[in-house]
Symmetry: C2
Subunit: 370 residues, 2 copies
DNA sequence: TTGTATGCGTTATCAG
DNA sequence: CTGATAACGCATACAA
């Protein structure tokens, strides 16, 4: 292993003390220009890059924020080489939403001078990577489903944590801030649009996994809007329980539609628990020769980027990804500054994005892509 | 700032030495079960998470790999609040490809037990974040366009570096491995498909930014295929120079098509330098009432996930994202183990993905989404 | 303005 | 199997 230069070597070469090297690199004012030059020359010649570990240890702070998100598929595709391709597609396929979260966090972190340390893991994994990350950052964002509550509670003793999109029921002990979006009211608004603007009466909800709290909240909003108009949902399994469950992937959405097609006539509107599901649903409908939105309207939830490039454009409820990142970073910074601040619970508003998949006309004259 | 527990406190509470604590947490065998229990109890009670900085310093290794990629837009949207929305869309829009790279790297890193430290920056920025990252990882992947060559050369003294998608001309001094994909031959193959299978003769290339080496390589493959058939490209600016330049975003692709429409009849085939450009082009064509692929065929390059969900599905050349991540990690690990190994230059094969946007029939019976 | 000396929290070596 | 103790590389308070 090549042994990289240290402050000592730089100091020696520059003919100054290590303190001066440190000061120059930290951009302190109180150092003579000549000293500065000597140091910089030595730094360049030696290819010196300060060891982050030492800086962090001495400075008692890292320049890093952490982000842990659920590993949806683990390495199943590796374990089952027999059908590698399908799995590969399915898993990356399900990542759209995480991509946006990662993006938003990276941007927000960077603006505050932090790099972002990311790792996926799953509740059922050993929590090793989560601890690795937690031990190396000044603040940590954990997406729901990433680690068991105990792990989060454990980690909170070490680093400020923001829990993202955690179900309202599952609250972690200890001082952790919770950040989420208005799932229920967002879906409520979307459903009202379908009911009032379009006058649809035959709608059906395609849920996510049965244990998904996000899906449940959105379903609640959907049901509430229906109830207000005295309507009932097509195809209800049990009282208040959606009948149709996808798994938040396009493949899942397509599969549900396939089943629906076998049962008989498809409802006039398919309200999907997230965008991927809607994408898969539209694809399956197209395969079956049904036109969207003329014969079947479809809507999503999340507002991932691809939604606007589909044809027809996907009507959906957009989460404020950028703002989520910003608020998460801000919460972390506040708690870094003042750790005993009471825990906050923030719910960010969502925005209805009407495109064509619900039956609305394409915006004339306007260009979606600019 | 809350002061988190240290080994000393854990050791004291458990009634053992710090060495034992360290051993237990490291999973060493040679420790009595009773000791192990005492330590784990103390760890849990105290919420102890080892400080990564100290571990890394003592262990001379981090559990982290770094990834630096170009910041396409910086914070322009922040600086110019006047037209915030359009910029916001444009910039995240251009991220698809990076998303896939990040994903692939995260997966590959995780499989090797590493977390991934990411940060965006641009050649024109100060290189601060790049140094921050470089100082905190055992290996670093740098995407082309992220940092000036000198910065990379500088950093190489400290940590193994893999340069991703760097133009063949721009090679960095020092021992850095280069990793890329077969841009030229991939585009050559795609073009031959258009020529031979479909018999098109009126094709036109929509390039990326004029200084993009990727775009240039792909253009070269395109031209070569045309030349083999004795064809010339529609709308050539200068000898060997593409006339139409987008900027690798959907907005750019749409803008090019808009200009094209004003000039007169659109070529039969638009071969785009990347997927985003193609997406924008298709969208603009649709707005203009032109049908894809019946009236105008369109193709892309990269194979981003959304390509398969569009309608028509986008015919494109797919980069092996997963493999890129895998190979990058592997190169890094090799060089960590043996730093004076000669630099490698690896070119990964690409794969033609035929869908409907080129004019091929939709695959019957097959379900794209499962 | 610059240099000296010490602490940061772990791991690992080496005795016991 | 366990316990002292010396690095690890840098930042900073303090002294000059």
């Amino acid at each position: 292993m090549r042994t990289s230069p240290t402050v000592y070597e730089v100091a020696e070469r520059a003919g100054v003390s290590t303190a001066s090297v440190s000061r120059v690199l930290a951009g302190h004012d109180r150092v003579r220009q000549e000293t500065r030059d000597k140091v910089m020359a030595a730094v360049t010649e030696l290819g010196y890059v300060p060891r982050g570990a030492a800086q962090d240890l001495a400075g008692r702070r890292t320049a890093v924020l952490g982000l842990c998100f659920p590993d949806l598929v683990g390495d199943r595709d590796i374990a089952r080489p027999g059908r590698a391709r399908p799995d590969q597609e399915a898993d990356t396929d399900a990542m759209y939403w995480y991509d946006e979260v990662i993006r938003g966090m990276e941007r927000a972190a960077r603006r505050s001078g932090y790099a972002l340390l990311i790792a996926a893991s799953h509740e059922t994994d050993d929590a090793n990577l989560v601890l690795t990350v937690a031990g190396r950052c000044d603040g940590l964002v954990v997406l729901a489903g990433t680690a068991p509550a105990e792990t989060v509670e454990h980690v909170v003793a070490r680093v400020p944590v923001v829990l993202l999109a955690a179900p309202p029921g599952i609250r972690v002990r200890g001082t952790v801030d919770h950040l989420g979006v208005a799932n229920e009211s967002g879906m409520h608004e979307l459903t009202r649009h379908l009911l009032d603007t379009h006058g649809y009466t035959d709608l059906c909800f395609i849920a996510g996994p049965p244990d998904s709290a996000d899906s449940a909240s959105r379903y609640a909003g959907f049901r509430a809007a229906l109830a207000e108009r005295g309507l009932t949902e097509r195809g209800l399994a049990a009282a208040g329980e959606p009948d149709l469950h996808g798994d938040f992937t396009a493949a899942g959405g397509a599969a549900v539609v396939t089943r629906l097609l076998q049962r008989g006539p498809v409802p006039r509107v398919l309200v999907c628990a997230n965008d991927q599901t809607a994408i898969g649903a539209m694809s399956a409908l197209r395969q079956a020769g049904l036109r969207v939105p003329e014969q079947v309207a479809v809507t999503g939830f999340d507002g991932v980027q691809v939604a606007r490039h589909l044809s027809p454009g996907l009507t959906t409820v957009a989460q404020p990804m950028r703002e989520i990142g910003e608020v998460a970073v801000s919460l972390l910074q506040q708690r870094i500054a003042e750790s005993d601040r009471p825990a906050e619970e923030i719910q960010l508003p969502v925005r209805l994005e009407v495109r064509e998949s619900c039956g609305c006309p394409a915006p004339a004259g306007r260009r979606e892509d600019q």
